[in-house]
Structures are given as structure tokens and as C-alpha cells.
Symmetry: C2
Subunit: 186 residues, 2 copies
């Protein structure tokens, strides 16, 4: 019983995009192969380049599709450290990394996508953060905060969800909040 495949350009394109998003977040650019994406999307490999041009361009589209940190940078300024802390704590403890964090932690891994990631980090994190920070050395403070976010992703990859041992989420958030406060204060 061969299943007859319906022809559905937009649907197939979307399946590929979703599969790529998940796989890039999970494995990083380098270890995701075209064949893996095709298999996960249940689509033919040739369709990926037909719809997206190349692996690199597909990656760029996956990154572009992500918003900024969803809901982290928006909101009252004085609660920004806490929102960042919760974001990092939740990502550290979860099974799946966030695409932005993962991309960030792989940053310069591939020269091929270095510029794509740099632009994305700039527009999604660094620039919005600099704008939010009053006072001197805003850039310095934004970089330190971003480094903490990126490093959390790296350690998540290295140790898995159990990286922190087993303190209560609230203890983690409290500690991270204070760290981010010191990072960001003017």
C-alpha cells in the first residue's frame, strides 16, 4: 500500500522549514545534513535547494523566522534582569535548546554562516539590549550579558538539562537575576 503523496508546495516548504528549525536547534549547523532534514521533513532532498537555494540560505531563513527573544526584551526595564534570568534558567533546565541561543553558542563555528549569526545576534540581542541600557559602557554591559546567555547554551549542550545539579528553579532564577543586575546596571 503505497501512500499517494499530495502535491503541496507550501506545505512541503513548511515541513522542511520546521524540520530544519528543530534540527539546527538540536544539533547545530554543521551536524545537520541535508539528508537528515529531508528525512525529518519527509520530503525529497532536492526540494530543499529548490525552495531555499542552499543549506546556508535555509539556515538564514530559519534564523530570520525566529523573533527576538520572545517576551524577554519587552516589558518593564526594571524587571529585565529577572526576565533574562528566567529565560536562561528555563532553557538550561529544559530538554531542547532555543534556536537563538544554540545559534549563538555555535557562532563562529562555521565561517560559512559567521556573518548570518553575527547579524542575527546584533539585531535580536545586542542592539536591543544596548538601547535598553542607560549610562556609560552600554556595549560592554550588553556583551557581558550576552556572553552569559551564550555560555549557558554551551554548558547546556555539554552537561544536558542536569547541568546545574538539582537546586530549586527559584534559587537558580534568584542567583541569575542578581548576576544580570550587576551585568546591566549603569
Amino acid at each position: 500500500m503505497e501512500e499517494v503523496r499530495r502535491r503541496d508546495r507550501e506545505g512541503t516548504r513548511q515541513r522542511i522549514l520546521d524540520a530544519a528549525r528543530q534540527l539546527f536547534a538540536e544539533l547545530g549547523y554543521e551536524h545537520v545534513t541535508m539528508r537528515l532534514i529531508a528525512a525529518e521533513a519527509d520530503a525529497n532532498i532536492a526540494l530543499i535547494n529548490r525552495y531555499f537555494g542552499s543549506k546556508r540560505e535555509l539556515f538564514a531563513e530559519v534564523l530570520a523566522m525566529q523573533g527576538r527573544f520572545p517576551g524577554v526584551l519587552e516589558g518593564p526595564r526594571e524587571e529585565l534582569p529577572r526576565r533574562l534570568a528566567e529565560y536562561v534558567a528555563d532553557r538550561l533546565g529544559s530538554d531542547l535548546g532555543s534556536p537563538v541561543m544554540t545559534a549563538l553558542s555555535r557562532s563562529s563555528a562555521s565561517p560559512e554562516i559567521h556573518d548570518i549569526i553575527k547579524d542575527r545576534v546584533n539585531s535580536a540581542i545586542m542592539e536591543p539590549l544596548v538601547v535598553l541600557l542607560p549610562g556609560e559602557d552600554a556595549r560592554l554591559r550588553a556583551v557581558i550579558a550576552t556572553a552569559l546567555i551564550a555560555g549557558a547554551s554551551t554548558l547546556h549542550r555539554l552537561y544536558g538539562p542536569e547541568a546545574l545539579g538539582s537546586p530549586a528553579r527559584e534559587a537558580v532564577v534568584a542567583r541569575l537575576t542578581r548576576v544580570f543586575e550587576v551585568c546591566l546596571e549603569g
Copy 2:
């Protein structure tokens, strides 16, 4: 005029090791090829596996050859945040990343070397740091500090030595010192 090469097992082995150390620190495990190491060491590619077994084992030997953070974890406990801050600030501003930081920021990039890096991070950073931290949640605090170190390496890779803009080194060290203090305090 062909130069006649002298036979020098230990010398060649050392040239390979040095070349590998520099290249791994600069490019990361994945983007260093055996041929690149051989060219940089001015040695035949087959000698690498003759002396080290495999690329993976060469990488392990390069990591093993690095001490812990040189001089960072040793010294008075109360100055630890400042020493970490200086280490990170200097690495951020320099042209070349440290092998340990680079390896850390590439951590889970390659499943092939995941365990090697994990062991190295544990023995070089995490465990010594946990031992130095009194009070509760030592693991949590060590992980946050390590994340900051790893993330700094990632951003160094992404933005180069100019990542921070151009504040004075002392301003960078001062800010980082306070951040590490909050990371580490009991």
C-alpha cells in the same frame, strides 16, 4: 635544491603537537583538517596518526597538555573574582583565544569529542571551582561562572578582539570582577 630532512621523531612529534594546539585553539576541532595540521607542522600527514593514533586522540593529547587555567584558580580566595575577570578580559581583547576556552565554547559541537571536552572542563574548571566555593549551591555558582567564561569565548569568536567596543581594560576588569563576585558568593 631539495632540502634534506633530518630524521627526528621527537621533534616532528612536537611540531605536530604545537601546530595542532594552535590550530584547534584558532579554528576549533571541526575546521582543523589533518592536512592543515600536517602543512602547519611541515610534516607528512601519515605521521600524525602514526604518532597519535587519530585526530580525536591528538585532540585529547592537546587538551591534556594544557594545565588548568594557568594561575587563575591558584591564589588567595578573595581575589578569585578579580583573577577570573582579568583572565576573561585579556582573552576577550587578545587576538588568540585560549585553547581551554575555545574547546569549551565548542563543547558539544562534535559528539565525537564531547566526552573529552566534558572531562577536561570538569577537571580543569568545574571541580576546582566547586571546591573553592563554600556554602550551598556551589555547583550552581560554578556553572554560572563557567558559562560566563565560555560565553566570552563565543563572543570573542563572533566579534573578534573588538567585541567590547573600546573601554579601558580597567573598566572591563572592574565590571567583570563584580559580576564574578555575585556569581561566586555564598
